[in-house]
Each structure stands twice: as structure tokens, then as C-alpha cells.
Symmetry: C2
Subunit: 356 residues, 2 copies
């Protein structure tokens, strides 16, 4: 089981990290470790104990979702509950993760525990949870693949659903309703539907604009299924053949296929990004490629490893990534094509299945 494996691995890291216990604040890390999905929680892991702290609204739910954890109910606000747990443990070196603790919680904890107990701030590079989450086990890969397949089915439906007179917002609503009908827990982010010149905004909000004939429609969406995210983008020309669109679409598609065919384990994120750039550079349009090539996907829709101009993240077997080159022209529109891949020993295996 994921959680026990992870807990043992985490504990085996305590010595290297020079801590006796770890306190976890991030909801997504807590869900990944314990299964608990409440909005207020905090986890304490020592050699001897697994504690999930939450408030009375979630008492029953925590017992249901995290029955192997010792549940401690406290106040909804503040750090009293976790401070008491730290004090009761009598341990002297308590690790926290620098990217998930606010200055407020940090100060509130150090002000309320004895001086003999020290808070050790673990840098991102040593974050043992993100390191573990980056590699997916077989069960997780299966769940992510199912999530990617569901998103693919939905985006195929969406493209067949573009009819004269539909607004971007209506199409986004149809996408989300269909995703839920197929079993999606929720969307993994606010669905992007951008048509015509609005497609030049990589992260456009669906508007009340009607999708016109003879223009492009960019759809970027994803779902959560069984707790795991997916992410896919398609750009579709709604109307008569258009030479400019076809030429640019072919280049974006080529950038994507080149990057996904040549990527392999141990490459750096920036090296994979550079493969896509060579395609755009040869066509003299690399200035239109204004974002990173991709990102990891798992419990979160954006997580390690990142693929961009500067990324030193290493592609490793067992990680899941997107490859999503895009070009954007103000006043005209944009084209992005995004698919999800598993990094395997022999290269990338595509998980999304929607037509292009």
C-alpha cells in the first residue's frame, strides 16, 4: 500500500535530515499520505507515531478516511493542536518543509513550544515528500492513466460539440458537465476555452463570446479521477481550411512529437524544452513560444519535474509529465497541443488518447 511504503521511506530519511519527526501542513501532501481530504489538517510523523490533527467538523471523516492514523481533534484556527502534539512527543528536532509553512504558523509554533524542542526548516531540495511524490508507483500510474483517458474522451466530445452560436462559457460548462457525468470527481483546474484572438492568452477564462465560424478554438482541461489529476490541450480550426493556421499547427505538432520522441530518462527539463525550441527556431518563431514545455502531473496538476528553459529537474523513470508546446500571436490567436506521458526506461509512453 502506498501509504505504508511512503511512511517507511519517510522515516528512513529522518537520520539524513537530522530530524526526529516531521510536521506536514500542505493539504495535498496530507491527502497523499493519509487519504484525508478535509480542508483543515496537519500531520505529525515520528518513529513511534502517525498523527492526523484536524477540527471537529472533520472528526468522523478523518476516522473514515485515515483509519490507520491517530486522529487528534482541536480548534479550527491556529496552531494549538499541533503545538500540543509536538510538546507531548518530547522530541527535540521537529522538521517542517519551507515551502508549506507560513511565517505566521512558524512563529506561532516556536513561540508555543519549549526551547528544548527545535524546529528544523527543511529546504525544498531536501523535501522528502515532494521527492517521493515525483515517482509514481504502479497503482498511481494506473490511476493517472485512467484520469488521462477520461480527459481525452471529454475533449474529443468538446470538439465535436463546437456548433455555430455556442459561447466559450457554454462550451466550458458542457465540458465540465460531461466530465462529471463520466465520473470525474472535479476538474483539475478552471477549464480554458478561448476562441479567435483570445487564444493568444495561454490561460484565458471562457468568455460570453460566441465561437465564430472560421476561427480557432483552444481547449485546455483536465479532471481528477480517484484523486489523480490529468491535463490535456487541443486547438481546433472551426471552419474552412486556413493556410496560416495549418502551417503553424504543423510546427507545434512537430515540436511536440520531436520532444516526446527524443526525451529519455536522465535528461534535464531544460534539455527536453530545448528540443521543441529547435523546431521553432528553424521556423524563426521561437519568440512566440512564451512558456515552459511541460510539467509533472500527479496529486497536483502542476508538480515536479518541470520542463522549461532553465529547469535542472531530471526526467526519471516513473515520473509523469506533459509536453505542451504553444505559440501565441497577439491579435490573431494561439495554438497549443498538450499530452501526458509516462517516463519509462525506453522513453515516453503517451497516456492521453484524444485525436489531433
Amino acid at each position: 500500500m502506498l501509504k505504508n511504503e511512503s511512511l517507511n521511506t519517510l522515516r528512513s530519511n529522518f537520520k539524513n535530515l537530522s530530524v526526529d519527526a516531521l510536521v506536514i501542513f500542505s493539504p495535498v501532501n496530507i491527502e497523499w499520505l493519509t487519504g484525508f481530504t478535509g480542508s483543515n489538517g496537519c500531520v505529525f510523523i515520528s518513529k513511534a507515531e502517525n498523527i492526523l490533527a484536524t477540527d471537529s467538523r472533520y472528526a468522523l471523516q478523518a476516522n473514515e478516511q485515515s483509519n490507520q492514523w491517530n486522529i487528534r481533534i482541536g480548534e479550527r484556527h491556529g496552531t494549538d493542536n499541533i503545538c500540543q502534539i509536538i510538546i507531548d512527543s518530547k522530541l527535540s528536532k521537529i522538521g517542517v518543509l519551507e515551502d508549506e509553512v507560513s511565517l505566521k504558523n512558524y512563529h506561532s509554533i516556536i513561540d508555543n513550544i519549549p526551547k528544548s524542542q527545535r524546529i528544523i526548516i527543511l529546504k525544498d531540495i531536501n523535501n522528502p515528500i515532494l521527492k517521493l511524490r515525483k515517482y509514481k508507483n504502479k497503482d498511481e500510474i494506473k490511476k493517472i492513466e485512467e484520469s488521462a483517458k477520461l480527459a481525452s474522451e471529454v475533449i474529443d466530445f468538446a470538439i465535436s460539440n463546437i456548433s455555430n452560436g455556442i459561447t466559450e462559457k457554454e462550451l466550458a460548462n458542457n465540458i465540465e458537465a460531461y466530465a462529471k457525468k463520466l465520473g470525474a470527481e472535479k476538474m483539475s483546474f478552471d477549464t480554458i476555452v478561448a476562441s479567435g484572438a483570445r487564444a493568444a492568452l495561454p490561460h484565458a477564462k471562457p468568455s460570453m463570446h460566441t465561437i465564430e465560424k472560421n476561427t480557432m478554438v483552444l481547449i485546455d482541461m483536465g479532471v481528477y479521477l480517484d484523486g489523480y489529476a490529468s491535463d490535456i490541450t487541443r486547438t481546433y480550426w472551426n471552419g474552412k481550411k486556413n493556410t496560416k493556421f495549418d502551417r503553424l499547427y504543423t510546427l507545434v505538432k512537430l515540436a511536440q512529437s520531436m520532444a516526446s520522441e527524443r526525451a529519455e530518462p536522465k535528461m534535464l527539463g531544460k534539455e527536453v524544452h530545448a528540443i521543441a525550441e529547435t523546431v521553432f527556431n528553424e521556423a524563426n518563431i521561437n519568440d512566440l513560444f512564451i512558456h515552459g514545455l511541460g510539467h509533472g502531473v500527479g496529486k497536483e496538476v502542476h508538480e515536479q519535474p518541470y520542463l522549461d528553459k532553465k529547469s535542472e529537474d531530471i526526467l526519471e523513470t516513473g515520473t509523469i509529465i506533459t509536453i505542451e508546446p504553444g505559440i501565441y500571436i497577439q491579435g490573431w490567436g494561439g495554438i497549443r497541443i498538450e499530452d501526458m506521458f509516462e517516463v519509462t526506461d525506453t522513453g515516453l509512453r503517451q497516456l492521453t488518447t484524444a485525436s489531433k
Copy 2:
């Protein structure tokens, strides 16, 4: 206009707070100040400048949404962009808000600006943005009222939609699709539909359970409309009259009406909470009331002021709150009734309009 008013008020606070500038990290605070809705942003406000920092994915969008702001495009990750803005400003006392800065960002900033520039950590109690956001102006109250009305229409629809054989998940999906059809931007939180004994979980996730005849259905939902949240709960008995449900429902309704009729400006959150407790205490069921009585609503669905056992938050004219007493019995179910109110000089004015 909200933003200019707020900016002037903010700047007039700089002297009291002993800062020359403020750096804002929280996306909701940034949206409230600038209108920008991108997922990556940071705001710098000095006497002389209004700067919105983001990355290239959001360049066009930031110019569209925040055209009175000076937009600075930098890297997607890290603090290089904001550090350069701080350095360029040459100001010596830079304020940050303790609840919205992670240890990671804090350390990354102090490591990368000159020693002559100091970061001043502002405690929650001095958080000038939360103070401003707590009071809603007329325009905001109007938007929140529209959001509350839309949520009311949706929950009335939901209750008329409970039919034999529908699952909790299907009903939740219908609620969300209907809300979006009526124009909701998105839900303000994951819709709760809990039937029978599952209603004992105050924050239950909709399950694949069919809603049975002769059982209760608790629905808690809200929407975003024009950037403002709403929040409403109804509990409905689906079937033949049930004496236990009727008796407890009457008590919850009484606790709600007592609290909303007696609440007035300048009361503390804990005093309003205590009014509801007197009703439950008299019926000897106060141990079943396991959460706070309510919370503020605005750009966020949970914000100041809070109403609970310990809250020292003051009810002030121009704030918006929920009143939502509830009782929960493990193995049987739960009843919660929640409405939204504006705090006015003469007492509470109800904003939600759904039938009970």
C-alpha cells in the same frame, strides 16, 4: 472605484505600519486589489508605484485585467522578479504579511536583496488588506447579494430535483450544471450532498449512494458570481413526516432565527455563537453542535469575521456573515441550516432567499 480607494487607504497606513512599501503574495488579495486572476502573481505597492509581477503566460491577461498597474514579466518560479522590483525601488522597509508568505519565499527574498533593505513582517492583527476586505462597499454588497440569490435559486432547484433513485453525486452534478447555466463562474467550494447517516459528516463528499426515501438530505453549496462567493445550506426530509427530524429541525431553525434576530453591530463573534448555544443547551443537545456558528463571506467563502466559541472578531456594519447552526448524530445523520446576512446599523439583513 474599489481599487483606487483601497490603494489610497493602504498607502495612508504605511506610516503606522512602519513600512515604505508592501509586497502581497496571496492570489485572492491580488485579485481584490488589481482584478488579475492568474495563478502566478505578486504585487508591490509603494507611495510611488503599483506593480503587478507575473510570468509570460499571463502577460496579455495582466494588461487586460489590470491596466492601471505597471506589469513586470519574469520567471514562473522563484522570487527573482519580486526581488528585482524591491532592489529597483531602493526603499528600505518592505512589508510582507505573515500569513501569506512561506518560509521559502521569505528566505529567498532576504538572501537576494541588499542588507540595507529590510523585510518587515506584519502580524495578522495588523494585516491591512484583511482589514479592508472585511468591510464591503456598496458595489461589493450588491455583488454578494446577487451571488447569494443565485445560490438560493440553485438550492431550491436542487431540492425539487430529489427524486427516487438519484445518487448524491448525480444531484451534486445537477446542482453544479444548473448553477453554471444560470451564470455562476464556478462553485465557491465542492458541493456537499449527504443523505441519511452520511449527513452526520459536516463536510461530506457526495458519494455514489442513492438518496433513499424517508431519510434526510443535507445540501451545502455556493457559487462565485462577478468574483464574489456565496454559501447556503438546506436540510430536507425526503419522505413521510418524521417526528425526530421535525423536532431537531425546529430547534436548529430556532437557533438560527434567534441568533440572526439578536445579532447586532459591535457584538463579538463568540457572543453571537452563544445565542445559538442557549437554544441547544435548553434542549440538552449542545454537544451535538460541533462547529462554529458562521463566518464572513466575500472574495473568499470563509473570511473574517468568524463566529465561534472563542472568536473575538467584532461584527461591524458593512460585513457579510453566515449563520449556520447544525447538529450531528453519528449513525443517524445531521441537520444544518445556513443563510447569509449583511450586518447593518439596525441588525442583520438576510441575503439568501431559498425556502426552508
